[in-house]
């Protein structure tokens, strides 16, 4: 459960740290860094949240003794 919490905290911390990505270079397909970096986080966040979801499911299973 702690691991799940860390996974969930990562995108929040990363996106709150605006100075780390508020710049133009390097560009990707004409997109300044500031923009494509945040688009990238959409997918990273989704993956992290899904992993956290699997972790919590796994953590529940033995405790509850059911097969969900």
């Amino acid at each position: 459960m702690v691991a799940a919490g860390v996974l969930l905290a990562i995108p929040v911390v990363a996106l709150m740290a605006v100075p780390t990505y508020a710049r133009v270079e390097p560009e990707l397909f004409g997109f300044p860094f500031f923009f494509w970096y945040q688009f990238l986080w959409v997918f990273l966040c989704s993956a992290l949240t899904y992993t956290a979801y699997r972790l919590t499911l796994a953590a529940r299973k033995p405790a509850k003794g059911d097969d969900r």
Binding site: G5, L8, A9, P11, V12, L15, M16, A17, V18, P19, A22, R23, V24, F29, G30, F31, P32, F34, F35, Q38, F39, W41, V42, F43, C45, S46, L48, T49, Y50, A52, Y53, T56, L57, K64, R68
Partner: protein, 575 residues
Amino acid sequence: MSAAVLPMAANTGINGVALGVLIALFGIVTVAGFMASRFKRGDGLESLDEWGLGGRKFGTWITWFLLGGDLYTAYTFVAVPAAMFATGAVAGFFAVPYTIILYPIIFIFMARLWSVSHRHGYVTTADFVRGRYDSRSLSLAVAVTGFVATMPYIALQLVGIQAVLEVAGLGGGDNVLAKDLPLFIAFALLAAFTYSSGLRAPAVIAFVKDILIYLVIIVAVIYLPGQVGGWDAIFGAAQDKMDANNAAAVEAGLKPSSSFVPGSGAFWAYATLALGSAMALFMYPHSVTASLSSNSRNTVRRNAALLPAYSFVLGLLALLGWVAIAAGTQPIGLDGEPNAQLVIPQLFEDMFPSWFTGVAFAAIAIGALVPAAIMSIAAANTFTRNIYKEWLKKDATPAQEAKVSKLMSLVVKAFALVFVLTLDKQNAINFQLLGGIWIMQTFPAVVFSLFTRWFHRYGLLLGWAVAMVYGTVMAYQVINPVTGNHFGGSTALIPGLEEMGYIAVTAFVINVVLAVVVSAILNALKVSNGKDETIEFDYFAEADDPRVVKDLTAHATRQEPYGDPDGVAGNAGAR
């Protein structure tokens, strides 16, 4: 409608084909909405459950669409691109990190809220607070905040519908009534629609809405950038405009407020706008309703992992505001004044063939109508459950409750109309931010309380009260440098930090600090913190748990919506 429109056709640029398609699609959707009230009908719409919760029969898919509806609103389509167009990334693009970090945040608390709500039959956050602290006053505070904060958010939707109608050529003219005609049409449509069909209408139409919206988004983000010279040209044009804006502002003796990429003075503003908006969104009554109507605790979390896909598209839509810069779009209202809110409809009208412009207009208008209906219903439900039934008429019958809810859904929209008419609608995104300032102050009472009862009910109440006053006063003092109006923006200097930040977050910090201090004192003095009708198990309960099923059956026939029948703390009945 056509009779009212035709006399004005001569002196305004009505786009006949687009308007025709818009009206036709709107007609289809409206008919579907009215028919929705007949489908899957339970005991008629005369009970609150039927009218306000669709009989609680919505499965995972419909819940998904309802949740998506919370994000795909006029906020996404009109306000965010308009902010990008007018003043750049700090004012608009923060919506992307906002809608990303939203999901980890709701992942953490929504499952607990879902479980405890299903165990006790809570429908609103105020219900939960009432049960957790046995505190009518704290519950009232949460309910009133939810009701009031929804108003500017609905106002934003009205601005969105109005923008489409205005670009389509409706309204204009000299007298006051005709000038705001699109607004009144938007309001009338929304009111009639919601009043007659309740939550069933938006739930059915949400499908149509999402299909239309996806169609328009896909076409727009693939087709439009190529038409204006590719993304290089778009970002180049945006940078030029923002630089020119800032140079002009400095020349006029104002602070430069436009941004291509946030400069060092805007880091705090960007971060707090994103964080504050994310924490605020799932405190709104309509978001809670949509989440709680899902059929399983895990559905909420699974959706939290999958919904960020919405954020990607939101980012592309935001950038359409800059596509409009590259395209040289001139958003001029029918009164001849520039109005940034019109930029996306205007861009579509300039770039698309008329028939597809009509489809795009319909997508935006329906995309504003559906969430506005859901919002006003949820706010009305909160009023009925937590204000009317709790304080005004305890022995209200289900029919009376439904009647009050319908009436309040009109009242909340009427106030939304007042917001549009009195506040500065040049900066519509500010409506949503203003609602966020208020609703975020319920976060400690609701979310902290899901995890702990260390906080004292009076501490939470005091923190809420001070933060509400602070937030409102600060927001009032923000003056739009161009128009001179109050409530001109939602950022102010953070005391002690001397950086600009979202007022909601500053107020939230004050709220939490006060709540901690007062709670510590009251706990030390052993002042009663009320009876807790929930137990630890409630926060982990799953839908198919036999104990929960038994509870739900018991709740279904129960007269009072919540409360602890035997009056013993930590001991909810019917297990």
